[in-house]
Point group: C2
Chain length 209, copies 2
């Protein structure tokens, strides 16, 4: 057999040499990245994970003792896990504001939806202006843009003019406005490959809320 | 002006009627989804949010008092926010096991990488077999498949044969094997639209770890 065997010492040495070279290249690359900056982060697309990864970043901030805040624009009336966990365990580090009262087809009242979105945005502005708050998650705000309840251009102008340089602002929801994607520092599109709703499985605790 | 005005009572009534219809249709659709099932969930793709949304779901489980567990296959040596938060606050509800010792180019030792991946998988099997554990996050396990440290077919066969029906298993990492995507219930591909590393910004606490 002439095939290389992973357990042969010469193969291990070759692997180590290759990895040492890769590490050196990677270290050079990472050394060039020295900037620190408060980011505008967008999670969009039809797939799952937009809110849960925003919530995951909020938990990372809490772990690092970085004060942070959440404004929920749509799911306000729901008893979600994230809401329960943040309000019962971490209210000292993370403010949690639920402004929406559910999806538009739940409230069936456009004026009330618009008022809730506007109240959410006023609260968000107050939180973003406070430089002691290091991350503000605007959960499902893109839905408020899509329904015309908030003006994306106005929100973007505020972020560009008034966001403190080290504050991260995370905006989630499908259908993020193009101008927001253009202006953001970090944009991820969650693409749906397969979803269990299609197989008749309902929303389940831990997974969806 | 013949343009409809959002504040006119007739427009409000029209909106309410439209939304009532939408709600009825949606309720019928959601009523058809009665199934409950432990899911095989895959987060893959080059974009951000694979681990953080897995971590977000773990926090949802904790909020619902559902016992859960994390096995980290790659980032083991890192002091991440998720590790710190779970081990200091929630060790009663969530086991946290770090088996990897960093990326392959950090260890530069293939035999050690393989041994760590195999130890991680043994621990994962033990956790998945325990039906009291409702969600097991196998963080970055797809990387272990990509490097050939673990056999995806073997892992998949185990999940199909031994995963208790109500247990959710979440597998993250770019480059998920095709067979795993085929077999999974919920698959999201995180697509990278824009990343601040490209603009010279380094990994920052709260955002990346």
């Amino acid at each position: 057999m002439t095939e290389p065997d992973a357990t042969l010492p010469e193969d291990e040495a070759r692997h180590a040499a290759k990895m040492a070279k890769k590490k050196a290249a990677r270290d050079r690359m990472m050394d060039a990245k020295t900037g620190e900056k408060g980011l505008i982060i967008v999670h969009t697309g039809p797939g799952k994970g937009k809110s849960s990864s925003g919530f995951g970043m909020i938990m990372r901030c809490i772990a690092h003792q970085m004060p942070c805040a959440v404004v929920q624009f749509i799911k306000g009336a729901w008893d979600t896990g994230e809401r329960r966990l943040l309000t019962t365990h971490f209210s000292d580090l993370c403010q949690f504001h639920s402004m929406g009262e559910g999806f538009t087809w739940e409230t069936q009242d456009k004026a009330r939806d618009i008022a809730a979105a506007e109240a959410g945005w006023r609260k968000a502005q107050e939180l973003i202006r406070d430089p002691s708050i290091r991350m503000v998650l605007l959960d499902e705000i893109n839905i408020a843009f899509r329904y015309g309840y908030l003006d994306a251009a106005e929100v973007l102008a505020f972020l560009q003019a008034e966001k403190p340089p080290m504050t991260h602002v995370v905006l989630t929801g499908r259908g993020a406005p193009e101008a927001l994607v253009e202006a953001a520092d970090l944009v991820t599109e969650m693409t749906q490959v397969k979803h269990p709703f299609r197989a008749g499985i309902k929303a389940q605790p831990g997974v969806e809320f």
